[in-house]
């Protein structure tokens, strides 16, 4: 496993210029994710209407992996039904933590290298945990 596999071009790009970064106004659901290990912090704001994610944005600060993962997640989930979004969250979490073939992950496939760096998995999943929390309970999550 090389650094280039972990920090692929697309990750560096999203890390440097995250999409959907900033405050969402108005929003219906929000959650905060915090990784106490490294201080990564993400605030996720989601606007849901008719069971669909109309829009979502995130703010906070984190490493390239957590920022890129959050950025790609927002792009991917915009317009999806909450149900489909939650399915994707689970699929992504599994892909990050469990070995084996996880099927076509699309652009997210570029994050698969993270699995080889166990102490970075929590960076990649932070925003996803936050999303799940926002749409289900609307609370705070930490990845420890």
């Amino acid at each position: 496993m090389s650094l280039q596999d972990l920090y692929q071009e697309i990750i560096l790009d999203h890390g440097k210029s995250p999409r959907n970064f900033g405050e969402l106004d108005p929003y219906t659901h929000e959650a905060e994710g915090f990784n106490p290990l490294c201080g990564d912090q993400v605030r996720l704001m989601v606007r849901i209407a008719d069971g669909k994610i109309e829009d979502l944005k995130f703010s906070g600060h984190g490493c390239a992996i957590s920022t890129a993962s959050a950025s790609m997640m927002t792009q991917l989930l915009k317009g999806k039904s909450v149900e489909d979004a939650l399915k994707l969250v689970d699929k992504f979490r599994k892909a990050m933590t469990e070995d084996g073939d996880h099927g076509d992950m699309g652009e997210l496939g570029c994050l698969s290298g993270v699995r080889e760096f166990p102490n970075r998995v929590k960076c990649a999943t932070l925003a996803w945990h936050a999303l799940k929390s926002a749409v289900t309970t609307g609370g705070k999550v930490t990845t420890e």
Binding site: L3, L6, L12, L37, C38, G39, H61, C63, A64, T67
Partner: protein
């Protein structure tokens, strides 16, 4: 070699864990402020205890128990001597610095603090010298107030003097060496100020043992907490120094076996210090390893170590400062061999991962000093910390790996 200088290559040879490769390259171990590697002598002394003398202490009449008890008490005496305590009874074995500070906050704080009292805790403190005071404050109604620090990460002594003069301060809690910035705090001066106004000084010397020659009497400190594993000793053992007159009047921290004189269901009489504060079976092998680490500090010379580490840290700061966008945090006048930095291009967590791929082990994160991070205005830093066995090659490896970060993220 001149007297008082360090023979780095022979010192390095004493540390088996340093001689390995990670990610296919030789290890560059620069995470010494988290824990140092252990010399063979320390490893052997722990093994030997279990191989030859293993028995419980202070309870058996048989020979193994006598040997174990003697080794344990000899370790206490060696440590008391090394830190300049007035008597062995002033040294309480703990599981580390954290337990020592909790002991002081719970036992001394719990029985001496009240509603109108204040404990001053420096902004640069480790969570282990903040949270125990908060817990005690909650129980007693006392207040915990931060001592501000300067941009260079030095204590604001003027503020401290003025605050002490206002009254109500019962204790001042500070670390001797900062695990983030390397700042060496003027403990003697803080002790003088505190005492002038009837306050005690509680020193977190977790980083002190390996980086400075500690003398608790010269400091005129009231409590000093130590941990062995950051000074070439084993993990899970530390010590609390407490002035005899204070320890004698403190209630036990934990209770059980080994810390009582007599127990009936009507009344229990507690043992004198230090036993009063050592409930249960202690970490005897750890104490022996701790004493062997003290031998190592003495043999190699802690002052020579500190000079050597300072040179490396200075060199690292010089080299790293050449890199645009890299900022060193903490420019105190007196510093030990610890360097913290951030880079505009990359988050510390990414820096740590890249460095690791080049065999360079550093710590990234908040270093259990979140209030200090907030003061510095950063969520985290990357920290390189030096020990007696590090050399200029380690500094170059660090520099080259940081350049790789720059290339990848720049």
């Amino acid at each position: 070699m001149e007297p008082g200088t360090l023979d780095v290559s022979s010192t390095r040879a004493e540390f088996p864990a340093l001689h390995q490769s990670v990610s296919g390259v030789p290890l560059t171990y620069l995470d010494n402020a988290a824990t140092t590697q252990k010399p063979q002598s320390v490893i052997d002394s722990v093994d030997e205890f279990y191989e030859q003398d293993n028995a419980n202490v202070h309870r058996g009449v048989h020979q193994l128990s006598q040997r174990a008890t003697k080794a344990y008490e000899d370790a206490r005496a060696a440590l008391a001597n090394w830190i300049g305590a007035a008597s062995d009874a002033e040294v309480v074995f703990t599981k580390g610095c954290t337990e020592g500070l909790n002991l002081v906050a719970a036992s001394w704080g719990g029985s001496n603090l009240q509603g109108n009292d204040t404990v001053l805790v420096s902004t640069m403190e480790h969570h282990s010298n903040i949270v125990p005071w908060q817990m005690t404050a909650e129980r007693t109604g006392a207040k915990v107030e931060p001592i501000p620090i300067t941009d260079a990460v030095e204590l604001d002594l003027e503020w401290l003097a003025a605050r002490l003069a206002k009254g109500g301060v019962k204790a001042v809690a500070v670390k001797s060496v900062c695990n983030v910035s390397g700042t060496v705090n003027p403990i003697k001066e803080v002790a003088r100020l505190a005492h002038e106004h009837g306050a005690l000084i509680v020193v977190d010397a977790a980083q002190g043992l390996a980086h400075q020659k500690v003398s608790v009497q010269d400091w005129d400190a009231d409590f000093v907490a130590f941990t062995a594993h950051k000074a070439y000793g084993p993990m899970g053992i530390g010590a609390l120094y407490g002035r005899k007159a204070l320890l004698e009047n403190m209630p036990p921290y934990q209770t059980g076996g080994g810390m009582v004189r007599g127990v009936t269901f009507e009344k229990t009489n507690f043992a004198e210090p230090p036993e009063r504060f050592e409930a249960g079976t202690p970490n005897v092998a750890g104490a022996i390893g701790f004493a062997t680490a003290i031998d190592f500090l003495e043999r190699v010379g802690v002052e020579a170590m500190a000079r050597h580490e300072n040179c490396l840290a200075k060199l690292a700061e010089e080299r790293l400062s050449e890199i645009p966008g890299l900022k060193i945090h903490g420019k105190a006048k007196h510093k030990a061999g610890i360097v913290s930095f951030t880079m505009t291009e990359a988050h510390p967590h990414d820096v740590g991962t890249v460095l690791d791929q080049y065999g360079v082990a550093v710590r990234t994160g908040h270093h259990c000093c979140m209030p200090l991070m907030a003061r510095l205005g950063v969520p985290a830093t990357t920290r390189a910390s030096f020990a007696c066995y590090n050399n200029t090659t380690d500094v170059e490896n660090l520099f080259n790996a940081v350049i790789k970060v720059k290339e990848l993220f720049g």
